[in-house]
């Protein structure tokens, strides 16, 4: 396998445009967690014209609801959750400058269209590899919606966080192309 590509957040248009489906990528920097419940609240803020709890430009959102941290750990196991539940909210966030998303599972046509239009990528993380993934999370800060428990928005400091490009800015979809390639 080709050497993984290392990227740092926040991401520029050039950063994301250089990525192609199937690329193995290691992410370093700050990323933000949000599941569908938090997305709904973000959209409510946008509709009311209020500012978001973090500057979304160039950022990556990770769809995750971690398990509780054992004493001595910064976070509990934290693998990706199903991205599709955030699909209805995603195009608006992409129009505001969100550059990347990490999750598991396919995205809707609307999200894929918005990714091409606003230049953003979708990364697949390995569902179920939660204990392994948590090793690449170095610091955690809850920045909004603490009442949502595991679904609160957290700022994560990650180092070499392993993902695979599943949808790129050129309309590529690894779910479709990968399956086609290996179907017998």
């Amino acid at each position: 396998m080709a050497e993984p590509i290392k990227i740092k957040t926040p991401l520029s248009d050039e950063d994301v445009q250089s990525l192609k489906i199937g690329d193995s990528v290691l992410i370093t920097g700050k990323i933000y967690t949000a599941r569908d419940a938090a997305h709904k609240r973000l959209i409510d803020l946008i509709e009311k014209g209020e500012s978001l709890p973090f500057d979304i430009k160039g950022q990556i959102i990770y769809y995750v609801g971690p398990a509780p941290a054992k004493p001595g750990y910064v976070i509990g196991p934290a693998g990706p959750t199903t991205s599709g539940r955030c699909d209805p909210y995603t195009p608006v966030l992409l129009s505001l400058g969100l550059k990347g998303m990490i999750g598991k599972g396919t995205r809707s046509k609307e999200v894929r269209g918005a990714m091409e239009k606003h230049k953003a990528v979708y990364f697949a993380a390995t569902g179920g590899a939660a204990a392994l993934i948590a090793k690449n999370i170095k610091a955690v800060k809850i920045i909004a919606y603490e009442d949502l428990g595991p679904e609160a928005i957290r700022e994560l400091e990650v180092e070499d966080f392993p993902v695979i490009v599943a949808n790129d800015t050129h309309g590529g979809d690894l779910y479709e192309e990968g399956t086609k390639k290996y179907r017998k």
Partner: protein
């Protein structure tokens, strides 16, 4: 009549909740290794390698394999000559509460499906009880993740659809599930019984260890055939393309009504968790 203490049940269930979440079965670890050796896709190999490393970390550090520590599904086989001092269902729930709290497991249960809030301790458990001969109590805890559970389905087919209809339904269900249940998956299939019972059969099928075939050679052959067909779909690890889409297929059957032919598919992920104890 043999007496079993309330707290024996509580402690056993708590232990099973933790063990099931920390320790991926050797059967799954071994089949993942075999799959890794056979996988053709580079991305697929990468993912299978991660799953093996993940299981190793979870085991050594005693942390959950997956952040979704599941709905606590409990199979209780109650010996007719055994008796628990106190209510055994309450004891099981106290055990789940203890296991999920003390074991740092994620609590994912909402009290009311429409109006509810997180119950905060992962209770209530789903308990399937059967009465068996003897004075022993066997308890199996099978934590079930939401992502794969959502890719499950019951279909009331026609008797004329026969085994070919069953096969087509299973393949279609897996195809539509695509990347969502964190493939590689384990597929439980129920055939027969009634609407509610067939779903239970499919769930019960998931308690088998990888490679354990249905004792009826007819269904054992269907299991093998379905596994091969599923792995030829190309969905691959995490749905990103590859040879490994399912690790096994298990079929459980039951007599049916002359007019009905219920079939159920219960999808499980590679985090095919189940641990048992006999008290």
């Amino acid at each position: 009549m043999r007496e079993v203490d309330y707290n024996t049940i509580v402690d056993a269930v708590a232990r099973l909740c933790m063990d099931a979440n920390y320790y991926l079965g050797d059967d799954v670890v071994n089949v993942l290794k075999q799959a890794l050796a056979k996988e053709e896709s580079e991305t697929g190999k990468d993912i299978l390698g991660q799953l093996l490393k993940n299981a190793e970390i979870a085991k050594t550090e005693k942390i959950p394999i997956c952040q979704d520590c599941g709905f606590a599904v409990v199979f209780l086989e109650m010996g007719e000559d055994a008796h628990v001092k106190g209510n055994i269902i309450k004891a099981i729930n106290d055990g789940v509460k203890k296991g999920y709290t003390e074991g740092f497991l994620r609590k994912s249960i909402v009290s009311d499906p429409v109006k509810g809030k997180n119950t905060g301790d992962n209770t209530p458990a789903i308990v399937h009880t059967s009465i068996v001969p003897g004075d022993k109590i066997k308890i199996t805890v099978a934590p079930k993740g939401g992502g794969s559970e959502n890719m499950s389905e019951v279909k009331m087919m026609k008797p004329a659809d026969g085994i070919e209809g069953v096969k087509n339904f299973v393949i279609d269900r897996v195809t539509r599930s695509s990347s969502n249940p964190c493939p590689p998956t384990v597929i439980g299939v129920g055939i027969g019984g009634t609407f509610e019972y067939v779903a239970f059969l499919a769930k019960k099928a998931l308690l088998r260890d990888i490679g354990q075939r249905n004792p009826d050679p007819f269904y054992a052959d269907v299991e093998r055939e379905l596994l091969e067909k599923i792995n030829n779909l190309g969905i691959g690890p995490m749905g990103l393309g590859g040879r490994t889409t399912a690790l096994d297929v298990f079929i459980e059957v039951h007599p049916r009504h002359i007019a009905s032919f219920p079939v159920a598919v219960n999808t499980n992920c590679h985090a095919a968790r189940h641990k048992s104890v006999t008290l």
